[in-house]
């Protein structure tokens, strides 16, 4: 399966986008949204792209539209939110690749360097450190992956 990249965007921003869209009745013109939020257009596009990859929003024409899963996520408690997002993250090719990668490692752990090298191998056009940071950030939020800086260990959550 071809591995596709994801933008380096924090989960909190994605959740903020969903809240803002809900306030706007579930649909808004992307340009107008950037202006209303005083957000740099390119930065907002990155957040929207990340939310779209997770199937939380859709982008018909120049608009961004909240999807039923996005609406569900903003209405549930934090642990349900994390669990729903985990399902979406696991389904993405980048994360499923690294789940399989870690399962092949001793103790299901790899060093930062090993992950960065693998990221560079499968996504040659992307910045491998940025890929690593996204794996750690989304992985931690959804409790799919962990990273211990002291031990330099990127690992698969015990429940996986």
């Amino acid at each position: 399966m071809e591995v596709t990249p994801v933008p380096e965007v924090g989960m909190t921003r994605i959740l903020g986008l969903l809240e803002v869209l809900d306030d706007h009745g579930g649909r808004e013109d992307i340009y107008r949204l950037a202006r209303d939020l005083s957000y740099e257009f390119g930065d907002l596009l990155g957040v929207i792209k990340a939310a779209e990859i997770l199937r939380l929003v859709d982008t018909p024409g120049g608009d961004v539209v909240l999807q039923p899963l996005g609406k569900q996520i903003i209405e549930c408690d934090v642990n349900t939110k994390k669990s729903l997002l985990k399902k979406q993250v696991k389904a993405h090719s980048l994360f499923s690749h690294f789940i399989a990668f870690l399962k092949q490692q001793p103790d299901r752990k790899a060093s930062r360097e090993e992950v960065v090298v693998e990221a560079g191998r499968i996504l040659a056009q992307e910045k491998p450190l940025s890929v690593f940071r996204t794996l750690v950030n989304w992985g931690r939020y959804t409790e799919l992956f962990g990273y211990n800086r002291d031990d330099d260990a990127f690992y698969l959550d015990s429940e996986e």
């Binding site: 909190t12 921003r13 903020g16 809240e19 009745g25 957040v47 934090v78 959804t142 800086r149 002291d150």
Partner: protein, 249 residues
Amino acid sequence: MELIRLEQIRKTYPQPQGTITVLDGIDLSIPTDEFVAIVGPSGCGKTTLLRIINGLITPTSGTALYRGKPLNGVNLGCAMVFQSFALLPWLTVRENVELGPEARGMDAEQRAKKANFFIDKVGLDGYEEAYPRELSGGMKQRVGLARAMAVEPELLLMDEPFSALDALTSVALREELLDLWRDPEIPLRTLLLVTHIIEEAVELADRVIVLSNRPARILKDLAVPLKRPRNKKSEEFGQFVDEIFSLIA
């Protein structure tokens, strides 16, 4: 039950060119179970007022009472959330959250239990062993919230907690703060938020105290008449924001 009472609070600072008056004649009462916001122009003295309530500084004149008793030193009924997060960079998320309970003398087992509970409540499960430099602003402020709540304060003081965050992150965290306030498992009932963002005060609070330019005086004490959840795009919301803006402007 009245938690805080301020009577004719005045705070001045001597300067080489003369005395600067920051607060002048502040009378304020905060009962339990209320979410109060203080708004005012930047630099008007909002943070000074918060620090007097927290017992970190004493007023030049006037009386500050907590549960009817004069404040004498740090107010242990309060915990503070800071704009700049105030995390210790050499400690992990878990260790930062445990700091509050540790400072209040809780033993290791108790504080680990408290830390686990509040780390879970703010959505930081998975980040326990991360260091602050590995976190985004939003995640850092979640640590700040968890640390403050872990001492189970009667009054949570928040000094511009979302001002250092980008627009989308602050929207998400404001919603999460309201979720925490409504959570029956968390004994967090009384909140005092200082902000210069009027929309933030109207979105979150039951009551908005409007301060003037320095020296700060209370211009108005307004109950927010809007039902929750508040629609920030509604006409009523906009009108209420405009009313406060016209007072400050």
